[in-house]
C-alpha cells in the first residue's frame, strides 16, 4: 500500500513488476495510467501545469487507498501522481491493484480513480496558443462517485 507524489516520471513496468516480486499469491494485477492528451476542446495544447496541495495530497490519497483496502480483498496497491510541468504524451499518474481474483483488482482500481479524480487536491492548467486555461471538473467525474 504505497502513495507517491512526485515531479519525476515513473516506469510503469518496473512498478508493476515490483508489486508482484518475490511472491506467488497474487492472481490478478490491474493498472491504470493517465496521460496528457495533445488536444483539449479541439485545440492543441503545448503543455500542462499540475498544481497540488503538498501535505493534503498525500493525506487524501492515503485515505482513498485505505478505503479501497477496507472494501476489497487487495494484496497490494500503489498510487503515483505527478505534479509540475508536463507535456502531451507524458504520464500523469498511475494506480495499480493486486488481488487473488480479478473482480477485486478491477473494482478497486476504478474506485481509486473515481475518488482520486474528485477528492485529491490536484488542478490542471493547460497551455494553448491562446494562453493558459484551468481544466474544468467534469460533471461525469462527480457522478462517478455515486456508484460506490
Amino acid at each position: 500500500m504505497t502513495v507517491r507524489v512526485q515531479r519525476e516520471d515513473f516506469d510503469i513496468g518496473a512498478e508493476l513488476n515490483a508489486l508482484r516480486a518475490g511472491r506467488d499469491d497474487i492472481g490478478a494485477l490491474v493498472s491504470f495510467s493517465g496521460l496528457v492528451r495533445g488536444t483539449a476542446k479541439g485545440a492543441p495544447i503545448t503543455s500542462m501545469e499540475l498544481e497540488h496541495y503538498p501535505g493534503m495530497t498525500e493525506k487524501a490519497l492515503t485515505a482513498i487507498e485505505a478505503q479501497a483496502v477496507e472494501r476489497w480483498s487487495l494484496q497490494a496497491s500503489l498510487i503515483i501522481h505527478r505534479y509540475g510541468l508536463l507535456h502531451p504524451g507524458d504520464q500523469i499518474m498511475m494506480v495499480a491493484t493486486a488481488s487473488p481474483h480479478r473482480s477485486d483488482a478491477f473494482e478497486a482500481a476504478e474506485f481509486l480513480m473515481d475518488f482520486l479524480k474528485s477528492r485529491a487536491p490536484f488542478w490542471k492548467k493547460e497551455a494553448t496558443a491562446d494562453g493558459g486555461r484551468w481544466v474544468d471538473a467534469r460533471e461525469a467525474d462527480e457522478e462517478a462517485l455515486r456508484r460506490w
Partner: protein, 81 residues
C-alpha cells in the same frame, strides 16, 4: 491562521498563502470578512458553489467551525487523475 489558495483562486487573489487574524467562527464568516476587505477577494469568492474548502487539510463544508483550525485552504473543484 494560515489561509492558502490554489489554482484560479490563487491567481485571482494574487498570492498562494497569507496569515490572517480573524474573529470569524465559521468558514462562511471568514469568506464574508475577506470579500468585504478587498475587491480581489470579492471576485475570487463571487460564486461559492465553485469553491471547495479544506480545514487542516480535510475537505469541509462552508458552515464548518474554525474553532482550533490552523490552516484553511480555498480552491476550485479538483481535476487530478
Amino acid at each position: 491562521m494560515d489561509v492558502l489558495y490554489f489554482a484560479w483562486v490563487r491567481e485571482r487573489i494574487g498570492l498562494p498563502k497569507e496569515r490572517i487574524e480573524t474573529g470569524a467562527t465559521t468558514v462562511a464568516e471568514l469568506v464574508e470578512e475577506l470579500k468585504a476587505r478587498e475587491e480581489r477577494y470579492a471576485v475570487a469568492f463571487s460564486d461559492m458553489s465553485a469553491i471547495r474548502v479544506a480545514l487542516d487539510q480535510e475537505l469541509s463544508p462552508l458552515d464548518a467551525s474554525l474553532d482550533g483550525v490552523r490552516e484553511v485552504a480555498f480552491f476550485p473543484p479538483m481535476t487530478g487523475g
